[in-house]
Amino acid sequence: MVNSAETDKKISKRFRWIDPFLEGWSIFKESILGRIGLTLLIIFALMALFSFIPPHIDPMYHPMTGVDPAVSHSTGPSMRHWLGTDFMGRDLLSQLLAGARVAFMVGVSAAFMSIFLGTAIGMIAGYSGRGIDTLLMRLADMIMVMPTLLVILILSSLFGQLNIWTIVLIIALFRWPGVSRVIRAQTLSLKQRPFIEAARVAGASHLRIIFRHIMPNVLPLSFLYMTFRVTSAIIIEAALAFLGFGDPGTVSWGMMLQWVWKTGHMFSAPYWLLPPGICISLITLSFYMLGRAMDEVLDPRLRKEEGAG
């Protein structure tokens, strides 16, 4: 492995700030879960990228509107349609690829927003302590006990079909409490550390301490939790779509499953039923594995030990 060590050295000489990432990467590489998870995610990411290609090849490959004129019912895999078609004659592979794109969009944005909120609130609560802490945490408790899915169902029955971005927003608004608890705990322990006291003695304001000192130390944990949030966001969206409350203008894996079910093809068209289901399971599994591997990187105690003195 001498070569990679050399290149690592060269890169880190030019971009010093990369050092911690390179070290983390070498630990990450060792974990089997991490490697599998990352490989799967790369496959899905490629799928998402390729989702733009089919309509360019031929308009009939458009996941939503592309109908193969030669086909008028669900057919199995063939040369023209590698995964087959759905009941309207639309290409299933294009739908699968488009679903990957939606999964990433929904998953990552919802996760990102809830992490953003959760981290900010967690840091403020942990650092301020007392009144503000109690207030924010009680708010978090109240929101945490509310069932996200149910709320969205109720809202959509009140306001009609919801747009995909509204769904993302609501998921974010309901999922931040979990993150904020963890971040708050981390902030509480960081608050006691001497380098925070050193910043206070230097004269830093509370805001500066939160954003300059606490946040960088808390962000790795945030990112870790983001991977877990992504899985729950994807599943919630899939569940909503399956139940018929998703955005009808978006093709997602959940939506595909809904169509299979609604059109009565559940047992007669495995080529239609299985791919989206497998994809949902695999993508959540791969994010989870990624999260586990990152856990090892971030928590030195979980690593395989180095030599002692």
Partner: protein, 344 residues
């Protein structure tokens, strides 16, 4: 070197109490008195040592001085101004003058910040200069602690530095604002001996070159003897003895100081070390009330006098102060009923 009439820092009857939380059932939580009406002065340009064991209150005193915590009672004066209630701009100006070096070099640097960012933090906070000017000041500070050439270290992160280097970065950070007074809280207790020696020499040099006053908090009498001009011995929140370092160590008058010296491992040339024998084998019962805190362990303590009232810190000879009933000048009366006692 020192202007004896101008104290730069003065503590007056400073106390700090830590309240333990009440348990839901059972006893209603006790208060720990970390500092009990401490008063002393530190003169400009001197290195003053505060020597004590764990739980003595020495670290608390340091933290009160840099205003990391608020005292329960008493006042602190910096250059004759009462800083106890400072807020806002006054507090910010205060922070430019008084800085702290922490004990644990592995925890006192933010692991996510490079050395440059860490050392320039105080400059950024006080809005001194622009980016380039700050870098230059940082370089100077790094050179003064022996991290030369500075550019080799500026972009490194704490985990890439050894303990001794980290502590030097911490010192550079404390010094970059050119403070007048620095509290060094056991700066070498987590470092190896050969590295500690470096740190001592750096502190000593800074005092010489920059006219800095240092409060050196330590548990090591030997380190205090090496570095400090005057030392004070603190036990359980009370000052026991105070005076010129060499004098206190060669001629300790308080039984606790004597016990400390007895207890130090001796090697090398120690033919002339006296054994004082002021420590009891097993602790005796402490009587209720505000007696001398060293009473339970003191071989020469007298039950009624030492067990009931805390002796005051009194001057027994030129600048040498002791808080002990048996060393007060003019105390000739020998109380009855004691097996043995210590008389000056």
């Amino acid at each position: 070197m020192e202007d004896k009439t101008k104290p730069i820092l003065e503590l007056e009857n400073l106390s700090k109490v830590y309240r333990t939380k009440r348990a839901l059932f059972g006893d209603s939580g006790s208060d720990v008195i970390a500092l009990n009406r401490i008063s002393f002065k530190i003169f400009e340009g001197e290195i003053f040592g505060l020597v004590g064991e764990s739980g003595s209150g020495k670290t608390t005193a340091g933290r009160l001085i840099v205003k990391l915590e608020k005292p329960a009672e008493g006042k602190i004066y910096l250059e004759n101004a009462d800083i106890t209630g400072f807020k806002g701009k006054a507090l910010r100006d205060f922070r430019r003058k008084v800085q702290m070096i922490f004990q644990d070099p592995y925890q006192s640097l933010n692991p996510q910040l490079s050395v440059l960012n860490t050392v320039s933090e105080p400059l950024t906070v006080h809005k001194i200069g622009n980016g380039k000017a700050r870098q230059e000041l940082v370089r100077q500070a790094m050179k003064s602690v022996g991290l030369s050439p500075p550019d080799d270290y500026l972009h490194r992160y704490p985990h890439q530095l050894s303990g001794g280097q980290r502590q030097r970065v911490a010192i550079a950070r404390a010094m970059v604002l050119n403070p007048r007074f620095v509290v060094a809280d056991e700066p070498t207790s987590m470092l190896d001996a050969s590295i500690s020696a470096q740190i001592f020499n750096i502190l000593s040099e800074m005092r010489e070159k920059l006219d800095l006053t240092i409060l050196f908090i330590t548990h090591s009498l030997a380190a205090a003897r090496y570095l400090c001009d005057r030392i004070a011995v603190i036990y359980r929140g009370h000052l026991m003895e105070m005076g010129p370092a060499e004098e206190v160590i060669r001629n300790p008058k308080h039984p606790y100081t004597q016990a400390l010296i007895d207890a130090l491992p001796k090697f090398g040339d120690c033919g002339d070390v006296k054994h004082y024998g002021t420590l009891r084998r097993a602790d005796s019962e402490a009587p209720e009330g505000a007696g001398c805190p060293f009473y339970p362990r003191c071989k020469v303590a007298h039950r009624t006098k030492c067990g009931t009232g805390m002796p005051r810190l009194e001057e027994i000879s030129d600048s040498h102060l002791v808080a002990c009933y048996y060393t007060m000048p003019g105390d000739e009366t020998i109380p009855e009923g004691d097996a043995c006692f210590y008389a000056t």
